[in-house]
Symmetry: C2
Subunit: 618 residues, 2 copies
Amino acid sequence: MKTRNLSLASIPEVKVNDKVFKQRIEACYKATIPSSLKQCKETGRIDAFKLDWKPGMDKEPHVFWDSDLAKVLEGVANILAIYPDADLEKQYDEIIDLIASAQQPDGYLNTHFTVVRPERRWKSLYHDHELYCAGHMIEAGVAAYELLGKKKLLDVVCKYADYIDSVFGDEEGKRRGAPGHEEIELALIRLYKATGNERYLKLSKYFIDERGRAPNFFVEVEGINDWDVINHQAHILVREQTDAVGHSVRAVYLYSGMADVAALTNDDALFQACERLYKSITQKRMYITGGIGSAFWGEKFTKDYDLTNSTLMYAESCAAIGLVRFASRMLNITGDANYADTMERSIFNGILSGISLSGENFYYTNYLELNDTTGFYNFGSRERQPWFHCSCCPTNFCRFIPEMLQYVWSISDDELLLNIPVANSYKNKLGEFEVCGGYPYDGKITISVKDSAKENLPLSIRIPGWCDKYTLAQNGKSVETKPENGYVKLFVNTGDTIECNLEMPIKVMRSNLKVPSNTGRIALMRGPLVYACEAIDNPNGLINMIIDKNSSFELVKVDGLPEETICIKGKAFYEQAQDDALYTDKTFDQIPGEFVAIPYALWSNRGDTNMSVWIRSN
Amino acid sequence: MKTRNLSLASIPEVKVNDKVFKQRIEACYKATIPSSLKQCKETGRIDAFKLDWKPGMDKEPHVFWDSDLAKVLEGVANILAIYPDADLEKQYDEIIDLIASAQQPDGYLNTHFTVVRPERRWKSLYHDHELYCAGHMIEAGVAAYELLGKKKLLDVVCKYADYIDSVFGDEEGKRRGAPGHEEIELALIRLYKATGNERYLKLSKYFIDERGRAPNFFVEVEGINDWDVINHQAHILVREQTDAVGHSVRAVYLYSGMADVAALTNDDALFQACERLYKSITQKRMYITGGIGSAFWGEKFTKDYDLTNSTLMYAESCAAIGLVRFASRMLNITGDANYADTMERSIFNGILSGISLSGENFYYTNYLELNDTTGFYNFGSRERQPWFHCSCCPTNFCRFIPEMLQYVWSISDDELLLNIPVANSYKNKLGEFEVCGGYPYDGKITISVKDSAKENLPLSIRIPGWCDKYTLAQNGKSVETKPENGYVKLFVNTGDTIECNLEMPIKVMRSNLKVPSNTGRIALMRGPLVYACEAIDNPNGLINMIIDKNSSFELVKVDGLPEETICIKGKAFYEQAQDDALYTDKTFDQIPGEFVAIPYALWSNRGDTNMSVWIRSN
């Protein structure tokens, strides 16, 4: 395999001036981070590291608590890299000190298995979250070091990783095993990249290769059912896997680590498995919003084309976040814009839907339809919540929201890719670049090369998969180069101006006819944005609405949404019954009217209301 | 309240000559009963009554085993009342002897709580099935006596019921309690009617009144959660209940007992509760097939209009059977044909769908749509199965299939109601009557009064709710009487001939617009029959099918179904995509073609195939 050797942009190098990322990142700084730290304090997730919990006391450290705090800390590092804040930094340092104090002499670091069930250390990799927590702590340590130059947590996690490496492996005296909840694989790669210590790359590769290896560790040692190990992607060797199966967050975390290892070890078989699994997800098991894992029970992938929109659907926020991480790794290996299309789809739709504009409330489940019958099974509330017992999603948002900056660009030693052209300035080793425009609401963007570190620097501009028609001009001269893998490669110099117009008409989208839930229905998209109708804007009803696809749609503003938000208005028919019978042979009247659709990610920001992405059409 | 004091026909008094009931009852005799007895033997359900199970042995008697055998025995009694069979009767008598031998000196009779967990007798009414098993054994005892004149099992169950009555009640020294799985309420009424012993009526009424009474027994004594008792209809007093909630089989068994007690005790409040609950079911929570309980998890009612057709749906066979029992009781109180409409809807559609034409295989779940994505949650097989670990449905079919004869007529001391006009002859205390015709495939029926025990006997003919147009003539003279409560009341004498033509055009049915699953879809009905499209007859696809409702439909025969079966053919369009993209902005082609629909109850009798009741329409 051949890798393009690209990396994502580094958070502090990208300053956004746009209307979507900027607002979201500010809300993360002002609301998400403080409220998450407060929740970690109040629920006991911070004080657990004092290791003074005793049986009978409340706030018993849970197996996944460490991961929550680690994710918040990683988020704090991301945010501090954007907004220096002495008070926040002090709080951050104190928590790191506390965590460091909880590390055991052998390097072990886990509150639950130190104070609650010490006898179970490494005994239940399948069900418990020991290596998962370790992975998140490692990521937090790497972020502290790379973004803030703080070495204390890095040293802690290196010591912990060294200890883990002394426990697991094929070598004599080590035990076999792989995490039940994947995460440490990708974390070890980050640690390897931050430290250069190949031990971590090797350990990550071990965990990946061990997964599904016969005799199956989970089955033989931990007594998991043969047919249950598929839920954690451990039914066969990862290189042989073809369908994205099981718990969807675990799956995409694993695939991210696989892609990392494939790139670093030039492992073509592993890369091909990643390609297959990516196709399985994006061609057969992904919502139009970029959400994945359609089953509430088990938070799982189900079957090809099983993408129900309501009662039982899931599309966990964390899963879409993980998909972006996986896709970004594949993008950096291949330079193929299809991966950036997926990243963009999930970010602007199925991920940002998971967090309120205020940054304070979160969806675990990202419904595509909320109606009066929704929610019998999925006991989640109709509105976003500030925290959950299992609070993986809010804490993931702490780190993901600032992390969005990374995905704007990819960079290597000698080239640059503009992935998501939100307004931003990007200063890096190759120069300084500014993107202006109103993306994602406007496809007109201007790229100014403020400073290029070398002549004729290759700068590739992504032409999104949704864009059928565009114009591109460099210094006023039309560019005739055709896109390759979805990117138009230009060669730029200091002072260059590139003008790009990605036309974004409203598109009437349909699902593959194998998706039973969506037949007869359309969804509206404009540019990368998926639209949804909320009952609050459509008082004549949603499930009785039939969009007149032959009418012309217009772009409108809707009260109560951020000023720049572009919404869609058009004609619709509203079915009306002649009576209230449950079943009738009477025909329905079709009353002509209008509909209004808003960007899906912004739904449920104006109170409790029904919503639908897929609407019937004539 | 005023009751019409009607009863259902007695099984031996009705001889059917039709093409649906007769075939089904024969299959029950030839296949269902023998295979169920065999399963009861092989699984240990019969030998459990030897009471020789010891810890460590296999075939540990399960808490619901006794009920399965009791239901099969009741089915055998029903069948023997139709088809005398010495071999079957011998087997039946031997099983009864064995059961009688297992009765404890105090009257107690339960295999599980005698040999497996004797210390738990009456300790867990909510979760275990002790009183439920007792109820089914009582029903078996009554059937043995009433249909075959056999008193042994009746004596056993009287002794058992007397013992139960000595245990439960409000009187000093008795304990409070009500069944977690209702059933004994209606069984005790049957026992009361068979014996005249008011003790059983009183005990039934006690169980009904106890349910939900504060302080809640299940909560206070058994430690069930406050919010969990709703699953067993014990959240408030039954008289105050308005929505059909919780486990659907338990619900309709309870409501049946409530209707019985209301009629016998002239309890208007109880009757009104029954009316409310019946409306809750039939106006908001019932499939068009008469199936109820839409949630796979918990086998429950969910929310109004939550009637999904596939992935998570349930519509347990037993629940539809229980609904018929409940509706029949309401019919006999009121003489209102709306109840007979529901009985007929469930019998011809959502109940007969649960059993193969051969009588050997059963659905627990009665899907309204089976497609390639169905079945991730509901682990049931796509095809009917011969038996289940929890085998309530097959054993319920043993008794229900012959029981269908009962529902054909209602009778009191001085009047007769023809509820379901399948071809049959009915000889009873009021005379002898013959119905000819091809119902339910043909609406033309002829009723001959072979013998009337009195002059001008009131005979009421049901004009089904689905029938908009009919003609009725008595002895060649057109009858002008309008139907009252859905029945036209005639006064007949020996030798009279009544000719009735219930027109049954094909009807295009729609769901209430509050049912999200069915918007934009139609179902076809003809007479009482709901139709469904099977993939085997529609090779161009089901979920991409759009029925052209403006085309004329024709009645056709379809190979592989019983000869008399009338199917429907018409025009449809088949959507075809231009590529295999998961989401596309390309339009679909609509290829004109035809569709074929068969009676829903007959689906899945020609191999594994997809199916749908609700189909899109233009």
